[in-house]
């Protein structure tokens, strides 16, 4: 086993465990925004290190892997921003745990709440 294969294998394991944690986060979190938080971060680093691991295992693909990593870093946060914004404007307001419910949601000055309550999923 060469050193490149060992690095590639380690990166694959790290990537898949972060992806697993992202999936677990989507299952456990209470509302869309928190699910997006868990999903976006974990899938970004998980996907990046998976692709980089593949690049190490197959050295001819390393440049393509780097391009894919750059595209993941650009597109992942944009998609989660679009989902969160559309979700808010559609009337699904964030779940707020603390007592001070008015001040915890600054975005309602842009999109006033039309429903009474935050509706949990």
């Amino acid at each position: 086993m060469s050193i490149l294969e060992i690095i590639g294998g380690v990166l694959l394991v790290i990537g898949s465990s972060f992806l697993f944690l992202g999936g677990l986060g989507i299952y456990r979190m209470p509302d869309t925004y928190n699910r997006l938080q868990a999903g976006t971060k974990a899938t970004t680093l998980g996907g990046m290190s998976l692709v980089l691991g593949v690049g190490f295992l197959e050295p001819a693909w390393i440049w393509k892997a780097l391009i894919i990593i750059i595209f993941i870093a650009y597109s992942n946060p944009i998609s989660s921003h679009a989902l969160a914004r559309a979700n808010y404007r559609r009337g699904h307001y964030p779940f707020i745990k603390s007592k001070d419910k008015e001040n915890m949601d600054a975005y309602q000055e842009v999109v006033p709440h039309t429903k009474n309550k935050e509706d949990k999923l």
Binding site: Q37, I78, S98, M104
Partner: protein
């Protein structure tokens, strides 16, 4: 859309050409001259056609000082990305689910659209924050564990490490 001077057009054209050509080289990953020639011609045509669309930066982006700060930004970003993932992992695994979510806002000093986009994307990938919307110079951020609702302090905690580097680049 604002009208551009010839200098700006030329600068954007050259920057887009160089970046598209680099992407071509990485995708084909060969230096065989026929491939390189086709790539150069194609990326020139695309960057000519898209001068008004790709408005990221002008020729000043090739300034060595700016390139240094870009590399620096990359490392700041990478560090915070790893921290963010460990943070999410900690929250997801712990049985009590330690979250206190809410949406906070703050104002940025950045002016160009492109730099605001980079800042919003970076905020999404750093610990516990997700950018919901950017209106003018105001950012609305969903925070998984709200420490303060005051815009100034929120800015200091969330955006300051990125913004001071971005101000040097753009």
């Amino acid at each position: 859309m604002q009208s551009l001077t010839l200098n700006q057009k030329l600068g954007r054209f050259i920057v887009n050409w160089v970046f598209l050509f680099l992407v071509w080289l990485m995708f084909t990953s060969t230096l065989f001259w026929q491939e390189v020639l086709v790539g150069a011609v194609l990326s020139m045509l695309i960057s000519l056609a898209s001068i008004r669309l790709f408005t990221c930066c002008t020729l000043s982006i090739f300034n060595p000082v700016k390139i240094f700060w870009m590399v620096w930004y990359f490392f700041v970003f990478l560090k915070l990305l790893v921290v963010a993932n460990l943070d999410v992992a900690r929250r997801v695994i712990s049985p009590s689910l330690p979250i206190n979510p809410g949406i906070v806002k703050f104002k940025t000093k950045l002016t160009t659209n492109y730099s605001k986009m980079v800042l919003a994307n970076s905020i999404t990938l750093t610990p516990g924050t997700l950018s919901v919307d950017v209106i003018g110079d105001t950012f609305y951020i969903h925070w998984i564990d709200v420490e303060t609702t005051d815009p100034e302090e929120a800015f200091k905690i969330i955006a300051e490490p990125f913004e001071k580097v971005l101000l040097k680049i753009f």
